[in-house]
Amino acid sequence: MKKELIGLTVNGRSHELAIEPSKLLLDALRENLGLTGSKRGCDDSSCGACTVQIDGVPMLSCTMLAASCEGQEITTVEGVSEHGSLAAIQKAYGDWGGSQCGYCMPGFMMTVKHLLAQNPNPTEEEIRQGLSSNLCRCTGYSQMYQAIRAAIEAEQKGMAAAK
């Protein structure tokens, strides 16, 4: 298939790349841009490891054409850390055991960021619902809830300190 030139904005940076129109966003990110954070865990959009945000909405990059994302803001796990340091949610996942093997982490980060952007103080039930698009085989999810709770507290403390 003949390649075409497209422009992608990923984590605030614009890139121009020559790809086949059939190229999936996940492959474009991993192979063309070297952003290997987003993972492939399945072939049929069932695991969520490839989740990225398109204009702030979590989407599965393994079943999206890269070319269809032209002109949109793509955020991957590589765009989560702040000023070269861990974001509160990343720190909390480490501290509370929310991540074990870590393979599902990039997807969860994008899903959780979206959840908290929509609902800064979710109940445990809302967190469970919010995470159900992503699979993890290590943690049984429990420690993720603690991590999310801790991240919310850290953010609130940070905001209080800023005021």
């Binding site: 991993r30 952003l35 290997t36 954070g37 987003s38 993972k39 492939r40 865990g41 399945c42 072939d43 049929d44 069932s46 695991c47 490891a49 991957t76 796990v77 590589e78 989560v80 850390s81 861990l86 949610i89 990343q90 720190k91 996942y93 480490g94 501290d95 509370w96 055991g97 991540s99 074990q100 093997c101 870590g102 393979y103 599902c104 982490m105 990039p106 980060m109 967190i127 469970r128 619902q129 995470l131 159900s132 698009s133 992503n134 699979l135 993890c136 085989r137 290590c138 943690t139 049984g140 999810y141 429990s142 420690q143 993720m144």
Partner: protein, 859 residues
């Protein structure tokens, strides 16, 4: 025992956590090499067939294809067990399951490789296939492996004590058939291997092979690559990058790991092979479908008198870990309770399905499900509380069980006490509203096998440590972190022992060029064995630092404490102003091969002398002193299980013994919808005796993860087969539970402080899994009064059991459905590979006969 530690026992983030949460950590599939090709594997469409001819010429001619490899390119057999070398990287003469490996194409990209697969012509002669282990055991002809009569890989017959006498003494006997269906690891990371040859500068030809692979066992991979590729092990380097979960699925050499290497050899370029999710299901090596015929006798006072188990495992097409699995199933009937008489008959049977192997709780889980369910039934028969019955049958350690297992630390009594207490068992059991119930069960697991797979006197773990003038501590360990946190465990032990901060410690792990041999991350051996080796290596180097520091501080090495990056003289011993003995001073120069101050400038040396002996040294100062004194600072430590923990003398006695066992007790609270048969787990209280929790947050994570995976096997997870084809090779269809289906798990850590474990630590990653399934089954019994004998406890099975209890007509759930669909399972759209079409079948194929009725869930 005091718990005066600075790093051990504290909840800390894993040392590699940031790489995981930021996406910067590299897993095998994230790696690439210049000129790298993509490898794709052609799989068998038939469950059992002879390969008459393979023609690869059309595929080779396709533009973009660099190499096509087939079985004859690497014809040496291999297998994880020395007794089970029955696999070939690519099939030589026969394929033995749908998904067996036939050929591999290395091409410039995935699309080209896939196109080339379609151009490989393979002519098969279809043979009768065996899918049911009990059918397979009757086979006389068309055997799966010619040297395995009746398709039996291995059978064992053990008698310990006098089971007949035991049953004669029993007041109540229960006897039933339990079936646990097949489950798989489904680790989030699909297997991936990148293989490349380095050019030897002396010969100018391809020399050393470098393999980076998602493996739990780099050393075994190096060994098997050496066998198949006929290269010395010294010419093979295996590197384990981050691994996205294993659970046993990466604990042996998986076909793609060898296929990538032979493809790279033929293509003369680096080749990366990554499995699709469907291929991961075919590679499998999961927990076999297990038929357990179990008989248990008990006295009125609650004492178990005898157990008799006949176990048949549906092992799939090759040996894999099968011999070990079937032995674990029998051996670990012991070491949990005090059972005086045990009879065990185990059959590992070959069938034409993907290969079963080791999975979390290896060999113990399905038998434990049967045993704990039956014990619950017997408790009801003698009118005793099932928690009490378990307490009546406790071991009295230290002891050696009737089947030769040495038990020392034993936290089971406290585990039971804790879950009974926390769950409100005494107040609530049997008093919940109809449809809601509580169930209890226990389990245990080895902290590493006391005998390695390849019998030798080699230590199971060796660890090296190097400390340089910068004060940085580098630990070289062969331990394979697969997400369980072994790198963190090693760093913690090093930092605690040296009294230095965690950030000083750098762990270099699982690279056969850099790290000494550790036999791998399986059988929950790493904390116990590699932890002990780490401890010895660190103590070795600490001794050197202490002797040099003591000299500086004019005291004895044992008077020093190492903590918070400072080496201090203990108070209350020799004071700072104690006279310095002249003999000690003069020996400094003569003992050390170097003259002190050789490196330090003369003036600085003079300044130090003027200051006289100090009360404390910073960690760096102590290290510098040690390097100046000893010349270099490195240490080494290794671990081999003690002889007395290695088990009895009977045939098969090598499997089961461990230097220490972990213990778990669980209470599950469930509700059952009697209209739909749906079971909801509300909460599981899980206590686990891990010896000592080196990192409590990781220990809790392992307990919760085990319980969660056990719950998956109890309620939803199941590999569904039809004519040897997997009907649900996807994560959704396999029904791995999501966050909405996952209960709250209250993890309770019990610390029995094992006398031989590092800081008293034992296993914590597998032992909890087995108790979850019977705890849920027993809770279902408490809720609605039906005993389920087949896992998972799907709504279909629960409903069938409820209706059978009421003598109601079973509901035909498949009425109106495709008549060729399996009678007892939900139908699936079919494998992506076959687009719903089943493979051609031999007319004599036993699978064409009417399937006998499924094991009932009635009681």
């Amino acid at each position: 025992m005091t718990n005066d530690f600075s790093i051990i026992g504290k909840p800390i983030a894993m040392v590699d956590a940031a790489g995981k949460t930021t996406g910067s950590g590299k897993y095998a599939d994230d790696l690439s090499a210049p000129g790298m090709l993509v490898g794709k594997i052609l799989h068998s469409p038939f469950p059992h067939a002879r390969i008459k001819r393979i023609d690869i010429t059309r595929a080779e001619k396709l533009d973009g294809v660099v190499a096509v490899v087939i079985g004859t390119d690497a014809p040496n057999p291999y297998g994880i067990l020395p007794v089970g070398h029955d696999e070939y990287a690519l099939a030589l003469d026969k394929v033995r399951y749908v998904g067996d490996n036939v050929a591999c194409v290395a091409a410039i990209d995935e699309a080209t490789a896939e196109k080339a697969l379609e151009l490989i012509d393979v002519e098969y002669e279809v043979l009768p296939a065996y899918f049911d282990p009990e059918d397979s055991m009757k086979a006389e002809t068309n055997l799966i492996h010619d040297n395995k009569p009746h398709n039996i890989e291995k059978d064992y017959h053990h008698v310990f004590g006098d089971p007949e006498k035991g049953f004669a003494e029993a007041d109540q006997i229960a006897e039933a058939r339990f079936i646990a269906n097949e489950v798989t690891h489904a680790a989030m990371e699909p297997h991936c291997t990148l293989a490349a040859f380095e050019i030897d500068p002396q010969t100018g030809k391809p020399g050393r092979l470098v393999v980076q692979s998602s493996t739990q066992v780099p050393y075994y991979l190096q060994h098997k690559l050496s066998l198949v590729l006929e290269m010395p092990m010294s010419q093979i380097r295996v590197i384990k990058p981050l691994v996205g979960g294993g659970f046993g699925g990466k604990s042996e050499v998986i076909p793609l790991e060898i296929i990538a290497a032979i493809a790279a050899r033929k293509a003369k370029a680096p080749v990366k092979v990554t499995y699709t999710r469907e291929e991961v299901f075919w590679a499998h090596r999961g927990r076999p479908r297990t038929i357990v015929d179990l008989k248990t006798g008990i006295k009125k006072d609650g004492r178990i008198t005898a157990v008799k188990a006949r176990v048949v495992q549906d092992g799939g097409a090759y040996c894999s870990y099968g011999v070990v699995t079937i032995l674990y199933s029998g051996a670990l009937l012991g070491a949990l309770y005090d059972i005086p008489n045990i009879q065990y008959d185990g059959y590992r049977v070959l069938t034409n399905k993907p290969v079963c192997g080791a999975m979390r709780g290896h060999g113990t889980v399905n038998v434990r499900f049967a045993f704990e369910s039956q014990l619950d039934e017997l408790a009801a028969k003698i009118g005793k509380d099932p928690a009490d019955v378990r307490e009546i049958n406790l071991l009295k350690p230290p002891c050696i069980t009737v089947n030769g297992l040495r038990v020392r630390s034993y936290g089971l009594p406290e585990c039971i006490e804790k879950v009974v207490d926390r769950s409100g068992w005494k107040q609530r059991k049997g008093k919940l509203p109809r449809g809601r119930g509580l169930g209890i069960a226990c389990s245990h697991y080895v902290s590493g096998a006391a005998n390695s797979i390849i019998r030798s006197d080699m230590p199971h773990s060796t660890v090296n440590i190097k400390i340089d003038r910068d004060g940085g501590v580098v630990v070289y360990t062969g331990a394979s972190d697969i997400g369980q946190g072994s790198d963190t465990m090693v760093a913690q032990i090093a930092a605690e022992t040296l009294g230095c901060s965690l950030s000083r410690v750098k762990v270099v792990a699982a690279d056969t060029d850099l790290t000494p041999i550790d036999i791998g991350s399986y059988s929950s051996r790493v904390t116990f064995m590699n932890g002990n080796a780490t401890l010895k290596a660190v103590q070795d180097v600490k001794k050197q630092i202490a002797s040099a520091a003591a000299r500086k501080m004019s005291c004895e090495p044992q008077e020093l404490t190492f903590r918070n990056d400072i080496v201090t003289k203990k108070k209350g011993h020799v004071g700072a102003d104690a006279p310095v003995r002249p003999a000690e001073q003069s020996s400094a120069a003569s003992v050390s091969g170097r003259v002190e101050g050789q490196i330090l400038r003369g003036s600085l040396q003079q300044k130090r002398k003027d200051e006289g002996p100090k009360d404390s040294l910073s960690f760096e100062e102590a290290v510098v002193a040690a390097i100046d004194f000893h010349g270099a600072l490195s240490g080494t430590g290794s671990y081999a299980p003690p002889l007395e923990a290695r088990g009895g003398k009977h045939k098969g006695a090598g499997v089961g013994p461990s230097p220490a066992y972990s213990y778990s007790a669980q209470v599950a609270e469930v509700s059952v919808d009697e209209e739909t048969g749906e079971v909801t787990v509300h909460k599981v209280w899980a206590s686990h005796d891990c010896g000592r929790a080196l990192n409590p947050v990781s220990v809790e994570g392992q307990i919760i993860g085990s319980v969660w995976m056990g719950m998956g096997q109890a309620l939803t997870e199941e590999m569904v087969w039809k004519d040897g084809m997997l009907m649900n090779p996807g994560l959704l269809e396999y029904r791995s539970p999501s966050s909405v289906e996952s209960p709250e798990v209250e993890a309770i850590i019990v610390e029995s402080i094992d006398p031989e474990g590092p800081f008293g630590a034992k296993e914590c990653s597998e032992g909890s899994l087995a108790a979850t399934i019977p705890a849920i089954g027993n809770a279902i019994y408490d809720a609605v009064g039906v005993r389920l004998h087949e896992s998972p406890f799907t709504p279909e099975r629960v409903l069938a059991a409820l209706r059978a209890k009421k003598n109601a007509k079973p509901i035909n759930l498949t009425e109106g459905v495709d008549p060729t669909a399996p009678a007892k399972f939900r139908e699936h759209g079919g494998s992506l590979w076959y687009r719903g079409k089943g493979p051609e079948r031999h007319p004599l194929d036993p699978s064409r006969r009417e399937a006998p009725g499924a094991a009932g869930g009635d009681d």
